[in-house]
């Protein structure tokens, strides 16, 4: 019943095909788009070329190798004002990463606690958590940062109360446990000082941490292999602490705490958490925590009640239901938005500039830019840093997402 017909004739090219033919049409549109793009960019470039300020200054990153000339308070790597702008920039980048990392950790903790508690059937707690979440979600983070910075400066006890009065009497306030002092110039905490053999203690401690994981794996093997349940909590604690303590004393206490000591103006020694770091860290974590709380809540709610009921019907206890059934599933829902919250934290660290925390926007985008006047170069570099950071994190997120995707038909 089928009849063969000749294939349609090959036609010559007509101008009309540029618009009407699906094969050429896309080239036409792309060509137009490209032309528009090029026109747009050349317009910008033309304007820039008309600006003699820009012309005469040129575009160069030479300035990065000149001495910076300014001091930075929080120095994760050694730095003096004679070092280059490049080194100042690197310090800024490290400081950005430090505060971003700290804030991610605490924001997760706040968020998970608030998210879980918001689902609690305790009315007061769940309402309190709702208030927390709504409060922080609906007020700009910049305001929170500034408020917390102000709180730190105005409500922590002034450092003058810790100073030794010149008449030789006791200061108004002393160190807490002889180690800690929360002052309006920052929180002073002791620092670990490693003597010669100190690294052995540290290594032992790290090994113990590995040991704890080993014990967990062992417990699981035991359960899977022989059906024996091995206690985990007690032995873990023992593994964690006992060897380290023993080694510590055997080696004659090579690790010591360096407590802050009051100097002429402030505590010397020890470790200082600066108000700017505290404000930024705390504000970002509590603000982002509110968002994470919502993600966590949504993640847990997304796991249908049927799942926990089925697990309960199999005889699993609530703790196990959580760890074996609900959490593994909820995490798949929670982690992608969680990572984008981490990205937000990283980007929001740039608000450090409001409290004078010396992150990348404070060094490269702040003082370096001011001193050198190289606005274009500095801001380009600044954006490049954040962009690389963000893209790297999203790449990791994509890999993760693909690896945990539920298998479907």
């Amino acid at each position: 019943m089928t009849t063969m017909t000749d294939p349609p004739q090959v036609e010559g090219f007509r101008i009309g095909q540029l618009i009407n033919d699906t094969r050429y049409r896309s080239y036409t549109f792309q060509f137009i788009a490209l032309v528009c793009l090029i026109l747009g960019f050349s317009w910008l470039a033309y304007n820039a070329s008309q600006n003699d300020q820009l012309q005469s200054n040129g575009f160069s990153y030479e300035f990065l190798y000149n001495p910076a000339g300014y001091d930075i308070n929080q120095q994760p790597i050694p730095y003096t004002s004679q070092d280059t702008h490049l080194r100042a920039t690197i310090i800024g980048a490290i400081n950005t990463i430090i505060v971003a990392f700290l804030a991610c950790v605490t924001a997760t903790i706040f968020g998970v606690i608030a998210g879980v508690l918001r689902l609690s059937n305790n009315w007061i707690i769940s309402k309190l958590m709702s208030v927390y979440v709504e409060m922080f979600r609906n007020i700009p983070v910049l305001i929170w940062i500034i408020i917390i910075f102000t709180v730190a400066a105005n409500t922590f006890p002034p450092i003058s109360e810790f100073r030794l009065p010149r008449d030789g009497s006791d200061p108004e306030r002393g160190l807490l446990f002889g180690m800690f002092a929360a002052t309006n110039q920052g929180v002073f905490v002791p620092r670990l000082v490693f003597a010669d053999l100190g690294w052995i203690v540290a290594a032992t401690f790290l090994a113990s941490i590995a040991g704890v994981f080993g014990w967990k794996a062992h417990a699981k093997r035991k359960l899977y292999g022989e059906g024996k349940e091995v206690p985990v909590l007690g032995p873990s604690l023992a593994i964690l602490l006992v060897p380290t303590i023993v080694v510590y004393f055997i080696l004659g206490m090579p690790v010591s705490l360096e407590n802050p000591e009051m100097g002429r103006f402030r505590f010397e020694g020890g470790f200082l958490l600066r108000p700017s770091l505290i404000a930024l860290w705390f504000a970002l974590s509590i603000y982002t925590g509110a968002f994470i709380a919502e993600n966590v809540r949504a993640g847990i709610l997304a796991i249908s009640k049927g799942q926990s009921e089925a697990a309960a019907a199999l005889g699993l206890r609530p703790g196990r239901i959580m760890s074996l059934v609900v959490l593994p599933q909820a995490l798949r829902v929670i982690i992608p938005p969680l990572i984008s919250q981490y990205l937000n934290i990283t980007k929001n660290t740039s608000l450090a500039i409001a409290v004078g925390y010396m992150d990348l926007t404070g060094t490269l985008g702040g003082i370096t830019l001011n001193q050198t006047g190289r606005a274009l170069e500095c801001i380009l570099l600044l954006m490049l840093f954040y962009l690389t950071f963000s893209l790297a994190i999203s790449a990791i997120m994509n890999v993760y997402n693909n690896s945990v995707k539920l298998k479907e038909r």
Binding site: D52, N57, S81, R264, F265, I367, N370, Q371, G373
Partner: protein, 322 residues
């Protein structure tokens, strides 16, 4: 090319002068409670506007921070910058600006609470220092402490207001910025005597208005407007008597040239003959500007010091109008 060489024309066409100032330093540039800008730097802007446009209120004040001021000027957003900006070599050359003169000789100083018991900056080893960033202060500070072999904890703060707030709260022991600003801000304290300004002056800070490189005509206008104010003080021309002196030219040729009743000075810089008269009439002479905004009779209470006329042992000196 773009906008150099024609700033005057642009300003005249626009009918107003875009003048970059600080975001708020009492006495130097600060909006009053009605939102009208007042201050020592502001007066320079008004004088230029009066000279160029005949109207001291034809100024659009653009508040700038340490970071934005240079780009604002370079990009043409503002026509001149009168924002206590230190005249330095690199700013003049590398950044391609022209400083047209000095309207205030300043120096960086330190302020500490009186009860800290410090009487010299050399006793500040280990102190926490609040710095208002975006100026040369960080660099001077770093140099000072390095030279004296002392350590310190810098606390960079974006705005003067916040720096003061931190200082008053005790979050830093020392507040450093130009001594003029220190004095100005201390005047606003609840207890001004609770703080002392230390005697050390750690830097030379000649502050002055600046314009873009490349438009010398415009640079001349601003330069000579400033000089007109200075000369006016030297010659005794005041806001009060300038109209009179212009209406009835006396026999001092320099005054006559200044006020445009003699010679063609105005035309040489492309302005009306009475431009300087207008400027002086608008804001008064240099001394009056100083006294009304930051002088000893104001809350700021700065003495003339270096900023007295050279005839009184200061550094304020205008080239002759001739």
């Amino acid at each position: 090319d773009g906008h150099s060489g024609s700033t005057l024309a642009t300003v005249q066409e626009r009918g107003s002068l875009n003048c970059g100032v600080t975001t708020g330093v009492p006495g130097f540039a600060e909006p009053d409670s009605d939102g009208v800008w007042q201050g020592f730097d502001v007066a320079v802007c008004r004088a230029v506007a009066a000279g160029v446009l005949g109207d001291p209120t034809a100024v659009t004040f653009v508040p700038t921070t340490g970071k934005t001021r240079f780009t604002a000027l370079a990009s043409g957003e503002i026509d001149m910058l009168a924002r206590n900006t230190t005249w330095t070599f690199s700013r003049d050359t590398d950044l391609k600006f022209d400083f047209v003169g000095v309207n205030y000789y300043d120096g960086q100083g330190f302020m500490v609470p009186a009860d800290l018991g410090v009487s010299s900056a050399t006793e500040l080893d280990g102190a926490t220092v609040c710095i208002q960033t975006g100026t040369t202060t960080e660099l001077n500070l770093a140099d000072f402490f390095r030279v004296n072999g002392m350590s310190y904890e810098p606390v960079p703060i974006e705005t003067g207001a916040e720096a003061v707030q931190q200082y008053l709260a005790g979050a830093c022991d020392v507040y450093t910025t130009d001594r003029s600003a220190l004095a100005a801000q201390r005047a606003g304290f609840e207890d001004p005597d609770g703080s002392v300004i230390l005697p050390e002056v750690v830097s030379k800070e000649p502050l002055g208005p600046l314009v873009r490189h490349g438009d010398s005509e415009w640079g001349d206008i601003v330069r000579w407007t400033l000089n007109a104010l200075i000369t006016a003080e030297e010659l005794g021309v005041t806001k009060g008597n300038v109209e009179e002196m212009a209406a009835a030219p006396g026999d001092n040729p320099e005054i006559n040239r200044l006020l445009g009743t003699e010679g063609e000075l105005g035309a040489m810089i492309g302005l009306e003959a009475d431009w300087a008269k207008n400027a002086i009439a608008a804001v008064g002479n240099y001394g009056e500007v100083f006294d009304t905004n930051i002088g000893e009779s104001t809350a700021i209470g700065l003495a003339r010091g270096l900023n007295a006329q050279y005839t009184d042992g200061g550094l304020i000196y205008s080239p002759p109008f001739r």
